[in-house]
């Protein structure tokens, strides 16, 4: 029983967090590696063409400086081996699946509470879903034999997301500031070189959608590895 990866989407259909746990194939002596990726979700809304893969990978490599040496610079998708699609495409696909399933279940269910779509299982994996009242969607992919993970996802939200993202003074959420709507401040550009900016631009908020930070990443990693469903092959 293992856990494959975790996605977090916000209510603007952007993937704001992705973390995956890879497992060494049987017989290999290498330890499990954990690859994390941070998403500039605004790129999902700013991309004008769908065939922007080469641009995505270079921008990704300029951001993921913390990825250990030897790991792939391009974020390989967690999908079936042989299909190399970019992270952005994969996130869009996953989001489309959960959104349509959720609406479908909601239409079919007789009760009106929002506990409709919880998880689905295929022959190769099981997807667990948890949605918060604020529109945050947590998606967890595990192997087919895992039991329900709704409590785990809720714990991730309450104990990790609220603690390390909401209470983080340096994390900025969707820019619904009054000044922007009145036209007093210009929209912040999705600049790629925020870490190298001068002290003047260090006060501009990060592009909306990116919630990845060290404490959150480490905490999620530690938490998932401590679960009983997470085993090393």
């Amino acid at each position: 029983m293992t856990i494959y990866n975790l996605y977090i989407f916000d209510r603007h259909c952007q993937c704001i967090y992705f973390q995956k746990w890879t497992h060494a194939p049987k017989g290999s002596a290498s330890a499990n590696t954990s690859q994390t990726g941070s998403r500039l979700g605004s790129r999902l809304s700013h991309s004008t063409t769908s065939s922007s893969e080469p641009m995505n990978t270079t921008q990704l490599s300029s951001h993921n400086q913390s990825i250990p040496e030897g790991a792939l610079l391009t974020q390989q998708s967690g999908m079936a081996a042989g299909s190399m699609i970019s992270m952005e495409e994969e996130a869009k696909l996953v989001y489309g699946v959960i959104l349509s399933l959720r609406n479908f279940v909601r239409k079919l269910s007789s009760t009106s509470d929002h506990d409709g779509f919880i998880s689905y299982r295929t022959s190769t994996y099981r997807l667990h879903y948890y949605e918060t009242p604020t529109g945050l969607k947590f998606v967890l992919n595990t192997d087919p034999q895992t039991e329900g993970m709704k409590a785990v996802l809720k714990q991730i939200y309450v104990q990790l997301y609220v603690e390390f993202v909401v209470k983080n003074g340096l994390m900025r959420f969707d820019d619904t500031r009054w000044e922007i709507s009145q036209g007093f401040l210009s929209q912040p550009q999705a600049n790629e070189d925020t870490p190298h900016s001068t002290s003047h631009t260090s006060f501009t908020p990060a592009p909306p959608g990116n919630i990845s930070n060290e404490l959150f990443r480490l905490a999620v990693d530690r938490f998932v590895r401590s679960l009983s469903s997470f085993e090393q092959k």
Partner: protein, 183 residues
């Protein structure tokens, strides 16, 4: 007389049953302070001729007034202070406990008017973190330190000690405040 020393409305005629401690939600306070720093940063850089010193000045002056009033309220039942070292020790222990629920971890002095206060687990930094980490996080977290600088300076000023306070952080969540007493 009223039995509870810390009341929100200290009227002598209140009976003990009416005396209640009104508390504020901790998360609300944290969010408010975070947003205060961010708002001042954001609105100051749009002004003409504004730079990072303007932000420092605004936040520090805010803290100054807050520190002055806070110290009036905190010391009303206390005996007089013996000397400057006593004042600084009061700040390290009582003021820090009231503001951050812990004391200063390390106090150093050269006995000639310079005090260095070190906090190894600054409460406002406990959840601050960025993706890049290290020096960049420390640089982004520095504006959060200017408000406490002002509070310390205001507290000292109202107790009769003129000073200059600067703060720095090299790796979160540790930070140091340096107090220079004017001769």
């Amino acid at each position: 007389m009223y039995s509870q020393p810390t009341t929100s409305s200290p009227l002598p005629q209140q009976t003990p049953q009416q005396v209640q401690q009104e508390l504020v939600s901790e998360s609300c306070m944290d969010f408010f302070l975070m947003e205060m720093v961010d708002t001042i940063c954001r609105t100051t850089i749009t002004e003409p001729d504004a730079d990072i010193d303007a932000v420092f000045y605004k936040l520090e002056t805010l803290g100054f007034s807050v520190g002055q009033r806070l110290i009036e309220k905190l010391t009303k039942d206390r005996p007089r202070f013996v000397d400057t070292l006593d004042v600084v020790k009061f700040i390290c222990k009582d003021l820090w406990t009231i503001m951050f629920k812990k004391q200063i971890d390390n106090l150093k002095t050269n006995h000639r008017g310079v005090y260095v206060l070190q906090d190894n687990n600054f409460r406002w930094f406990m959840r601050l973190s960025t993706d890049v980490g290290g020096a960049d996080s420390a640089k982004k977290a520095t504006p959060f330190l200017w408000f406490p600088c002002g509070i310390i300076r205001g507290a000292l000023a109202n107790l009769g000690v003129t000073s200059v306070v600067v703060a720095e952080t090299s790796n979160l969540p540790q930070c140091t405040f340096q107090i220079k007493i004017a001769a």
